[in-house]
């Protein structure tokens, strides 16, 4: 399937934002990624689902530029980005907020680290944070915020860094289910309003199907793409849609692949 997308890309029929081709990597003799290929269209929301040990995090580190893979290419709008950090947004399960910086100062961290945050950065960040429900907490230290609020700040930091493509690695896995639902809603709102391209790793199949345009099922030993499923469910997806036959059908397919 990845090959098909690559074919389309070469022939200019579809605007691919991110293009991963034949990615292979091993740690010593242990193969972690084997011939991974897929593309992500501009503005698309793609979820990667897989059991732990299937190479999701390695794949993420490769795309983010932290890890140089043995072979294969990663292109962001035709620019090769293997081993080049700082081209895509990145968010983890750990919020990684700096305890000594307020919510606002954490949101402008990208600017602070590259050239120093100016008044415009701060004003823009404050506006962004207020729009997404952090208005009352701009000057709070992370210690004084709940887990959900902290992840909200981390998400705002990722957005404020200004990259079109955002990689999210199980960002809501540590939250309770109600907070996670709120955060999923928030993320979809961000996605549709800010027109970002999102690659989202999760091991929660329901979460993947609620969020994604397409779900990439990864299989372990070595990590490889099992199948790519299109999620045709209509948006906005209400919680009730989790009980719909179409949803159940997709879930059954993913489960069958994962537990094959």
């Amino acid at each position: 399937m990845g090959g098909g997308l690559l074919f389309r890309k070469r022939h200019g029929e579809d605007a691919l934002k991110l293009c991963i081709a034949h990615l292979t990597h091993s740690f010593g003799t242990h193969g972690v990624l084997h011939d991974i290929s897929f593309g992500v269209a501009e503005g698309e929301f793609v979820c990667i689902v897989g059991a732990s040990g299937c190479g999701k995090s390695t794949l993420f580190n490769a795309v983010s530029g932290l890890l140089e893979v043995d072979s294969g290419t990663i292109e962001l709008e035709d620019e090769a980005i293997v081993g080049k950090p700082g081209r895509v947004g990145y968010m983890l399960q750990k919020d990684l907020l700096l305890p000594w910086r307020t919510a606002l100062d954490n949101i402008v961290l990208g600017a602070s680290l590259t050239r120093g945050a100016n008044a415009t950065d701060r004003a823009r960040a404050a506006e962004l944070a207020t729009h997404y429900g952090l208005g009352a907490y701009l000057h709070h230290y992370p210690r004084a915020l709940s887990g959900g609020m902290r992840q909200r700040v981390a998400l705002m930091r990722t957005i404020a860094a200004g990259h079109d493509v955002m990689l999210l690695d199980e960002p809501f896995a540590a939250l309770d289910s109600l907070t996670r639902f709120t955060m999923q809603r928030l993320l979809l709102k961000v996605w549709s309003e800010m027109k970002r391209t999102i690659v989202f790793v999760t091991h929660d199949i329901d979460e993947a199907l609620m969020l994604a345009d397409r779900v990439i099922v990864m299989l372990p030993n070595p990590g490889r793409v099992g199948r790519i499923l299109k999620v045709g469910l209509e948006r906005p997806r209400e919680p009730a849609c989790m009980a719909s036959p179409a949803f159940m059908e997709l879930k059954a397919q993913v489960l069958a692949l994962l537990y094959d």
Binding site: L113, T114, R143, A144
Partner: protein, 264 residues
């Protein structure tokens, strides 16, 4: 604890008064003669009765202690930063640092006096010698323990190495830095006194203690000891206050200047 500083002040004062009370009570109850252990009240009388002279002695020792302390803290901090940023330097210098602390401090004093004479310099060096070590060790540990994910995030945000160091790594070792500074603060005065004992052209608390001892002036000996202790405790408490002010995120829920309810 709505006013942690007030509460702390109360406990510190109470502890000091308790120590003096136990001392006074022990001398009275055990009927210890004043030329062996004087009552604290008598020692305080000596201090108050010789105000200007005592102040001069105190100032001399305080100058040596503070000067050496600042030098030692600065050297320790910058050494730690250098050693953690340049691994080769770290590997070479670390054994030398440990060796420096294995040399008995009294053993260093004599050569320093031979090299630098009877003035301030040997005292400053001895104090700095004692102070820099806990600072180096703590700051290096702090820098080594900065969360690797945090540093990766800084790289992914495109951070320059200098800014990443200043914004992400340095604040992360502020706790260890103050631990090192506090340990150094209580030891620093010992260095100044040893320096004065070895050779001195000016009287400080250390030289005064020696001459009072030689003259069987027991209250004088205790007065000097009390003031040396005061310098150590005073430095420690000052550092506690500076640390409290420098780390608002530990005890406030919002940044200073933006009011919200205190959380402690």
């Amino acid at each position: 604890m709505r006013r942690p500083i007030l509460v702390q002040t109360f406990f510190w004062t109470a502890a000091m008064l308790l120590i003096l009370s136990v001392w006074q009570a022990a001398v009275v109850a055990l009927q210890i003669p004043p030329f062996v252990v004087p009552k604290p009240a008598a020692v305080i009388d000596v201090l108050l009765g010789n105000g200007p002279m005592i102040a001069k002695l105190m100032w001399q020792t305080l100058k040596e202690t503070l000067g050496g302390y600042v030098i030692g803290a600065a050297v320790g901090f910058f050494l730690a930063v250098g050693m953690s940023q340049i691994p080769l330097m770290g590997r070479l210098v670390y054994p030398a640092l440990v060796t420096s602390q294995a040399v008995p401090i009294v053993g260093i004093a004599a050569p320093l006096v031979i090299i630098f004479g009877f003035g301030m310099m040997p005292k400053l060096i001895i104090v700095a010698w004692i102070v820099f070590f806990p600072v180096v060790v703590n700051v290096m540990d702090g820098l080594a323990q900065v969360d690797a994910d945090q540093v990766n995030l800084a790289r992914l945000l495109g951070g320059t190495s200098l800014r990443t160091f200043l914004i992400v790594k340095l604040p992360a070792c502020i706790g260890p830095l103050f631990s090192g500074l506090k340990i150094g603060a209580t030891y620093a005065v010992t260095g100044a006194v040893i320096g004065e004992w070895t050779a001195s052209s000016r009287m400080g608390l250390g030289t005064f203690l020696l001459s009072a001892n030689a003259q069987m002036n027991t209250p004088g000996v205790y007065a000097a000891m009390l003031l040396m202790t005061l310098i150590g405790v005073g430095s420690f408490v000052t550092l506690l206050v500076i640390e409290y002010i420098a780390t608002p995120w530990r005890h406030r829920s919002t940044s200073p200047g933006h009011e919200a309810a205190r959380t402690d």
